[in-house]
Each structure stands twice: as structure tokens, then as C-alpha cells.
């Protein structure tokens, strides 16, 4: 039954992805700008060169023709060709994806590592000093945009204290421990910025979710059976309280990717986020299309994962 459900959901995803691609493409086509703009202001490059390039890359075709061309190529696994780098878009994205996954993955781990204990502790002692401090920090944490905390971190840790580098380098010429140490050192700031932002909002979800569960009768029953408080919390409360949190983590992934775009730009992390920004600045439509489409797929995918996880964690939810 659940397999049928997954297949159905995947089939539903197809038209939504098609719709997303159509909207993206139209917006990009309507937006001003030209990938060969820089050539336009260069007196040494006559306009015919630009016209020839535009023709070569099919930029003069009507929007619908370009879209059809793009979508048929995409369906055959051809992600297109970057106007600006003159190379295949999938190579570009694959080059960048690992860094983004590492940064986002570790920031998610940090977020969960921080949010779980803090949220649970805060919920078990509601309105205590710890709870209030945790709440305040959580509030500050998710109110501050990542670009702001990023700059703040750079000012404090790189410029004032001179502890950490603020330019991320994907290729480090070191071996052994040195290699890992250099990598960790340069990843600390971007990972922390994203992780703390994400962690801050998670703390509040964990707390309220635990608070909901902790009041339920079965918890009282468990306590009255004489089970120790620690065991009640870990075995009985947290397990049930985490069901909505897990789905929330999955649903929040798109936001994390969005935050990563800005953070990558600030720290010069060579991920797909910074690729997206540079492609947008250069009006490199095929790359912008591909990266945004990857993001769109991730959103759809994580929505699906959230739904499936929910049903798996809570058997009362039926797939239909």
C-alpha cells in the first residue's frame, strides 16, 4: 500500500515540477539582461560578434521555442550548456554540489545537536531561568538573518581576533590531519551561521512539541508506575514528541538551502548557492534554470520525505 502511495506522490510531483520549470523559465526570459552584456560595453567587440553569439546559443528564438528546447533536452538528461563558462551545466553543478551538501549537512547536524537537548530541557522545566534564556536566544537566533550573523562572525573571528579564515577554499594542499584541520577551520563560520539559525527555530518546535506530549495521560501513568524521570523523558516523551519535529526538519530543508545561498556568497563557499548568484549576475540562464530546478526538486523531494516519514513514525496516519 505504501509503495503505491509513493508512486502516486511521485507521479503528482511531475506536473508540479513542470509547472515550476515553466514559471521559472518565463520569469527568466522576461527579466532584463543579456549574458553577453559585458561585450556590449566593450568598444573592441563589434555588435555583430554579440549578435552571432546570441544566434549560436539560440537566444533570439521566441520564449516558447526556447522552453520547448530546454524541456526536451532536460528530459533526455541534457542539462544544457553554460553561455558564460562554455561547459555543460551538469558538470558545473556536480563540481559544486558536494561542498553545499557538506556545509548544509553539517549545519543540520549542529542544529539538531543544539536544538534537541536545549528544547527538551527547556520543556521539562517550563518558565525556569534556563527556559527563558533558551527562548530568548532562540528568538534572537532566528530573527537575525544569516547574512548579518555571517558578517558579524567575520568581523569578530577573522578581523578582530584573527582566528579563522573567511575565504573558503575547496582545494587545500595539505595532507593528513592538517588537511582536516584546515577544512574544519574554514567551515566553522559558515556551518555555525547556518546551524545556529536553523537550531534556533528548531528549539522552539522541540520545546512546544515536548510540552504538548508531557501533559498527556500516558506520561502521568508512566511516572506513577515509578519509572525514573530521565527514562520517562527519553523513552516515552521524546520519542513521541519528535514525530512532528522530524517532519519539520524535512520541510525546512528548502529554507536551509535558501539561507545557504547567502551564506555561501559571504564566505565564498564554492557551492551551488554561489554558483546561482554568479550565474544570475552574469545572466547565464541555463545555469540559473538548472540550479533553481535542482532547488525545486529538492523542495518537492523533501516534502515527500516529510510525508513518508510522518506515516512511518506514526502508524495512525494512513497512506491513501
Amino acid at each position: 500500500m505504501s509503495r503505491q502511495y509513493i508512486i502516486r506522490r511521485l507521479l503528482i510531483a511531475i506536473p508540479s515540477l513542470l509547472g515550476i520549470s515553466l514559471v521559472l523559465f518565463t520569469i527568466l526570459a522576461l527579466a532584463p539582461g543579456d549574458p553577453f552584456e559585458e561585450l556590449a560595453t566593450n568598444p573592441a567587440v563589434p555588435p555583430e560578434v554579440r549578435a552571432a553569439l546570441r544566434a549560436k546559443f539560440g537566444l533570439d528564438d521566441p520564449v516558447w521555442a526556447r522552453y520547448l528546447h530546454w524541456i526536451t533536452a532536460m528530459l533526455q538528461g541534457d542539462w544544457g550548456f553554460s553561455f558564460v563558462s562554455r561547459m555543460d551545466v551538469d558538470t558545473l553543478i556536480l563540481q559544486r554540489l558536494p561542498v553545499t551538501l557538506i556545509v548544509i549537512g553539517s549545519s543540520q547536524i549542529i542544529a539538531i545537536l543544539v536544538a534537541l537537548p536545549v528544547g527538551v530541557l527547556a520543556a521539562t522545566r517550563p518558565y525556569s531561568l534556563f527556559d527563558q534564556v533558551a527562548n530568548t536566544f532562540a528568538f534572537i537566533g532566528f530573527s537575525l538573518p544569516t547574512f548579518f550573523t555571517g558578517l558579524l562572525f567575520i568581523l569578530v573571528f577573522s578581523i578582530q581576533l584573527d582566528w579563522l579564515p573567511f575565504v573558503y577554499r575547496a582545494d587545500i594542499d595539505a595532507t593528513g590531519w592538517q588537511f582536516y584541520w584546515e577544512h574544519i577551520k574554514q567551515a566553522i563560520m559558515p556551518v555555525m551561521v547556518l546551524g545556529l539559525f536553523q537550531g534556533a527555530s528548531l528549539v522552539r518546535y522541540v520545546r512546544s512539541s515536548v510540552l504538548d506530549v508531557i501533559k498527556l495521560d500516558y506520561v502521568t501513568t508512566a511516572r506513577s508506575k515509578g519509572i525514573g524521570e530521565r527514562k520517562v523523558i527519553t523513552k516515552h516523551v521524546v520519542r513521541n514528541a519528535l514525530i512532528p519535529v522530524v517532519t519539520l526538519v524535512a520541510l525546512q530543508m528548502p529554507i536551509v538551502f535558501g539561507g545557504a545561498i547567502v551564506t555561501e556568497q559571504i564566505f565564498r563557499v564554492p557551492g551551488i548557492g554561489s554558483l546561482l548568484i554568479s550565474a544570475m549576475l552574469a545572466n547565464d540562464t541555463p545555469v540559473v534554470m538548472a540550479v533553481t530546478f535542482v532547488f525545486a526538486c529538492l523542495v518537492v523531494l523533501f516534502n515527500l520525505i516529510a510525508d513518508i516519514l510522518y506515516g512511518w513514525l506514526d502508524p495512525r496516519i494512513a497512506f491513501r
Binding site: P32, G33, D34, P35, F36, E37, E38, L39, A40, T41, N42, P43, A44, V45, P46, P47, V49, R50, A52, L53, K56, F81, S82, V84, S85, R86, M87, L92, Q95, R96, I154, S158, I159, D162, P165, F166, V167, R169, A170, D171, D173, Q265, I266, F267, R268, P270, S274, L275, S278, L281, A282, N283
Partner: protein
């Protein structure tokens, strides 16, 4: 102009240098005494057949390598590494790590040999008397990074490759109208259809980087994009290609067989891209994480503050780029045959010379330099500023509100009850547009304020840069359409020769609907005398006369207030304290990379 010395006397002096009666230095000093700048004077000697002493080589290291890693930061990283496809300077700068031209342009706009054995001159027979051929002697024993020899065949191949329209090379304009032939394995000749006073475009500088024939010959024309070497360059330059991530990182390691002794100094180079200009400046000036950062588009005030950390310095390099205000010659508010600002119309207000004169004394250039641009924008009266040999000495600028008011008053523009002048029912109201960019908006405000006092009402308009500078035919707000009275932006000069730069006032270059607004003449000013002078510069082989022509052309457009020059926009780079690097405004930032080193 304004040479007190006549041509005859000048030739006499040059003759004396030739037969050794007058020293080169003595000649240059005399020239300077009559107001001819030193670089210009030396060029006079070159073109008159007197060999030029090579600029003093200040390279200090006595062995190759040993300098560690050179870390440079381009806040927009190179996105491709084939110089013939380079869309922007960042791509050329990146390609230059590995590829070299026959010669590069130094900061004075003089040639420095790279792959050429010598610079062609009249004396060494490199330049023909009729100006139609240039013979280049190539350096021998130069090897491509893969060990194959560099020869004349490679040079000829670059011409064939670039001029083929199917290759879609951005360098096509440089190569399509010349013919390059091999004379012997180490000699090539560049032939021009007409006498070419400026002969050093093909094979030189930014568009002259040479790619190897043996790796590209199978990828000419339509197949050009498939060449594996597009992304993994094999050149002759000081560094061997290591790896490349478009927009992010280019890495190279020392070329142990580089054709110049004791060079390069660094063992490896890392060119990092991405981020923004301010943090790039920080990484060099404040934390010292990087040795060099490119194109510091940062307010001078911030740069000066960062410099105080003592880790690096800012270097300002002269270029020909000029931030200027254009005055529309045509009427932007009337539509004729589907286009506004049509050359069939005349501007109702700006066609009055008094208004143009008044506007020109209402731009407070000193304040704009002092309060907005600082070192990154020196005020100037000229449109054509550099190389210095082409700079007019007769133009002056002033800021004088009373004078503007006086000029307008005399011309019959009388103040109305609202303080705005009018004449014959026409109010002195103009719309002044530019792209969205903080220094530009500040400049607009300064001009508006002064104009207000003189009784001119300026309405300010600012357009997103991506729209303003786009070539979108459907958009009315692009700078080439100029659907506005006044507009301001920087026009760039990519060569140390004003020929291409000065074509933006030619009658036949007017941007119109017919040419999809791709013409270079945006002000739409048309002047038969200017056109004639321009035609003369195209064939005048005497550098002195030719420079005088350009100076006269500058004086015409500035004197007639076709444009009001505001500030020059020099190149600005951030360098670590110990880094020694020559940056040129006429070539890529990395043009002389082989000679970069760190002081001990």
C-alpha cells in the same frame, strides 16, 4: 595642440638624436620643456626610427621559484579559460596565467615583449614605410607547457581560429580584417588592407593571447566548444595549469621551463573568485589572507580605513575610462518613426549653446572627487585623458553657479515665479538619468543642487544597472536608447590608442532604431569636421600629427559640451605590503605576472 615647436624643428631634433649629436635624454627633456610628455617623446623617437632603450627591469629575484604560493582574489572569478572566448576581463585575467601574447602593454601604454623577440619598429624593419605590414620576430626556444615548441605556425593558427565566424570567438574583430602569414618558423607578418597607424592590436595584449595549434586545430569553427583544452589550458606562461572550477578557483604551479630566466618567483598561484569587493579588500588590506585583489569597486574612504591596518596598500593605475555626462542632441520626448531621440529631431532646450555652457560650469567636479570618489576618481576637464600623450592641455574646468546664471540670463532664460528659468514658454527642466550605483546617485544630487541655484530644474532618474546597460531592444531605459535629456555613466577605453574610443562621436556610429541602437554614438551629435578628423587619424602615420588630431577632437566634443567629463576612473587594486607587481590600465591585471615577486 599648442606645440610651440614646429614640425620642421622637431624633425631636426630627431635627426640629431639619430646621428648621435643629441642624447635621448636631452631630446626628451627638450620635448618636455615645450609641453610634450615624456612617454610621447620617447614614442616619437621610436616611430622615427630611433631604437628605444628597454624600460629598466626591476625584477630582483635571482632564481626561479622559492616564493611560496601567490594567492590572488578576483571577486568575480574567471568562468572560462580560453582567451578567445573571454567574455569579461576576469576571464582574460585568468587565461593570462597560462597564455601569453607576443607583447603586453605597460602602464604608460608602451609595448613590452613577451613571446616576441623584439618590438617591431621602423628602424629594425618591423614596420613598413607604408604602414601596411608589421613583421614580428618570435622568441626562439619557447615551449608550450606540454613540451612542444612554439612557432610561427601557432601564431598563424590563432588568426585562422579567431577569424572564423563559426568559432564564435570574441576576438574576431581583431583578426577578421588582417592577414597573418608565416615567413619562417620564427617570423610572422601581419598585413593590413589600409595603412594602420595603430598596428598593435592583433597578437598583442588582452586579445593577443596565443593558444597552441596542436591542441586546438581539430576544434575550429563549430566544434570549438568541444575542445578539452578550453577548460585545461596549455600555454607558454609562467604557470602550468593545475585545476579550474568556473567562478571559484584557478590553480597553477610553477613552469620549470619558463622562457624567461629566474622567473616566475612563486611556486604556485591560486586565483580565488566569488564574494564581494569590500570583503576582498579586507582579505588583502586587513587580514593579509590574500596577496592581491582585483577591481576594488569600494569607496575610497573605506579603502583608506582598511589600509590603516598596515597589511597592504591600494594601487591606482591610470586608464582611459571616463565617467561623463552626455547631453542629448536630439529630442527624447518626441517619437518619430517609432523611435524617440531620433536624429531627425533637435533637442528643444539643449540645442541652445548657453544651456550647455551653463550646465558645464554647474558640475562641481572637485567636490565630486573629494567627497565621492577620492583616489578612485580624479576630476578632469577632458574626455580623452590617457595615455598622457593624447591629453589636451588647453581644456579647463570650473564650477561657478553665478557664471551659469549669468550665461542663462544673457541668453534670455528668465527666472519664473517658481525660481525655474524659462524662455519662449519653455521651462528649463531636464531629466538626468544614470544607473543605480551609490556614487552616481550622490553625483546626481550634487549636480541637481547646483543647477537648482542657477534656475535649472533637474529631475533625477536612476535605472537598475542590468537594465540600463543591457542591449534589450524592447526596453526604453537602456543607455543606448537615451530616451532622456542627460545621462551619466563610465565609458571604457580598452586600448592605449584612442581610435576606437573616439569613434563614439562619429556621424555613422549614431545609435538608431535601424541599427537596433547598437551604434556607439549615444549623444547623436553629428559634425562633419569631427568626422573628417577621425578619417584622418585612421591613416595618419605620423604619431605627432595623429596625437594632435585626437587632442583636437577631444577639444571639439568637450568645448562644444557634447559631453561633460566628470572624473577619470582609474584601475584600483589592493596589494599585500611586500608584493611587487606592475599593473597596467591597458592590459590585463595579470599581464606581467611572470615578474611579480615579494620583497624579502
Amino acid at each position: 595642440m599648442g606645440f610651440d615647436m614646429n614640425e620642421h624643428e622637431l624633425r631636426g631634433l630627431i635627426g640629431k638624436v639619430k646621428i648621435g649629436k643629441l642624447s635621448r635624454r636631452g631630446f626628451v627633456q627638450r620635448m618636455m620643456a615645450v609641453g610634450i610628455a615624456a612617454p610621447f617623446a620617447t614614442q616619437l623617437l621610436v616611430h622615427s626610427g630611433v631604437a628605444m632603450a628597454q624600460a629598466k627591469d626591476t625584477y630582483a629575484p635571482t632564481k626561479r621559484g622559492g616564493g611560496g604560493i601567490l594567492k590572488v582574489l578576483w571577486w568575480q572569478g574567471p568562468t572560462l579559460l580560453n582567451p578567445h572566448f573571454a567574455v569579461g576581463t576576469k576571464d582574460q585575467d585568468g587565461s593570462r596565467l597560462f597564455y601569453e601574447p607576443l607583447a603586453g602593454w605597460d602602464p604608460n601604454g608602451e609595448l613590452k615583449p613577451k613571446l616576441a623577440a623584439t618590438i617591431p619598429t621602423r628602424e629594425n624593419g618591423g614596420l613598413s614605410a607604408d604602414g601596411k605590414t608589421v613583421t614580428w620576430k618570435l622568441k626562439q626556444d619557447v615551449k608550450w607547457h606540454d613540451g612542444k615548441p612554439f612557432t610561427a605556425a601557432d601564431v598563424v593558427f590563432n588568426w585562422e581560429y579567431a577569424r572564423d565566424p563559426a568559432t564564435a570567438a570574441v576576438t574576431i574583430a581583431t583578426y577578421k580584417d588582417v592577414v597573418i602569414e608565416k615567413i619562417d618558423p620564427y617570423t610572422v607578418v601581419v598585413k593590413f588592407a589600409k595603412a594602420a597607424p595603430f598596428w598593435a592590436d592583433a597578437l598583442v595584449g588582452t586579445r593577443g593571447m596565443l593558444i597552441p595549434k596542436h591542441l586546438f586545430q581539430d576544434y575550429m569553427g563549430g566544434k570549438s566548444r568541444e575542445a578539452p583544452t578550453n577548460l585545461a589550458p596549455v600555454g607558454t606562461g609562467p604557470y602550468l595549469f593545475k585545476d579550474f572550477k568556473p567562478g571559484d578557483l584557478v590553480r597553477g604551479t610553477i613552469n620549470p621551463n619558463y622562457h624567461q630566466a629566474n622567473k616566475p618567483y612563486f611556486d604556485a598561484i591560486e586565483m580565488k573568485g566569488g564574494g564581494d569587493a569590500v570583503s576582498a579588500a579586507r582579505a588583502v588590506l586587513q587580514t593579509g589572507e590574500f596577496d592581491f585583489a582585483w577591481n576594488m569597486q569600494v569607496e575610497d574612504e573605506i579603502l583608506a580605513r582598511l589600509e590603516k591596518s598596515g597589511k597592504g596598500r591600494v594601487e591606482v593605475t591610470p586608464t582611459g575610462n571616463i565617467e561623463h555626462i552626455q547631453l542629448n542632441t536630439t529630442d527624447p520626448w518626441v517619437e518619430v518613426d517609432g523611435e524617440r531621440s531620433s536624429i531627425k529631431t533637435k533637442h528643444p532646450i539643449l540645442s541652445d549653446p548657453a544651456v550647455r555652457q551653463a550646465l558645464s560650469v554647474l558640475v562641481d567636479k572637485d567636490s565630486i572627487e573629494k567627497h565621492i570618489y577620492g583616489r578612485t576618481g580624479p576630476a578632469t576637464p577632458n574626455f580623452l585623458n590617457n595615455p598622457e600623450r593624447f591629453r589636451s592641455k588647453t581644456m579647463k574646468f570650473e564650477f561657478n553657479i553665478d557664471k551659469a546664471a549669468d550665461i542663462l540670463e544673457k541668453a534670455g532664460w528668465k527666472k519664473g515665479s517658481d525660481g525655474i528659468r524659462e524662455k519662449g514658454g519653455k521651462k528649463l527642466k531636464l531629466v538626468y538619468q544614470t544607473s543605480i550605483n551609490q556614487p552616481r546617485q550622490k553625483t546626481q544630487a550634487i549636480v541637481k543642487q547646483a543647477a537648482q541655484k542657477a534656475g535649472i530644474d533637474l529631475e533625477l532618474k536612476s535605472v537598475t544597472a542590468s537594465v540600463f546597460f543591457s542591449s534589450d531592444v524592447a526596453n526604453p531605459d537602456t543607455y543606448t536608447k537615451f530616451y532622456c535629456d542627460l545621462q551619466m555613466y563610465t565609458t571604457t577605453m580598452s586600448q592605449p590608442d584612442p581610435q576606437l574610443f573616439m569613434n563614439q562621436f562619429n556621424s555613422w556610429e549614431v545609435a538608431t532604431k535601424a541599427n537596433k541602437w547598437q551604434g556607439r554614438n549615444i549623444t547623436r551629435w553629428q559634425n562633419a569636421e569631427y568626422d573628417k578628423l577621425f578619417r584622418e587619424t585612421e591613416s595618419e602615420l605620423d604619431p605627432v600629427k595623429r596625437a594632435a588630431l585626437f587632442i583636437k577632437m577631444n577639444d571639439m566634443v568637450v568645448g562644444d559640451q557634447v559631453v561633460i567629463p566628470v572624473v577619470m576612473r582609474p584601475g584600483v587594486a589592493a596589494l599585500g605590503n611586500n608584493l611587487v607587481a606592475t599593473i597596467s590600465g591597458w592590459d590585463n591585471n595579470t599581464w606581467d605576472l611572470s615578474d611579480w615577486y615579494k620583497k624579502a
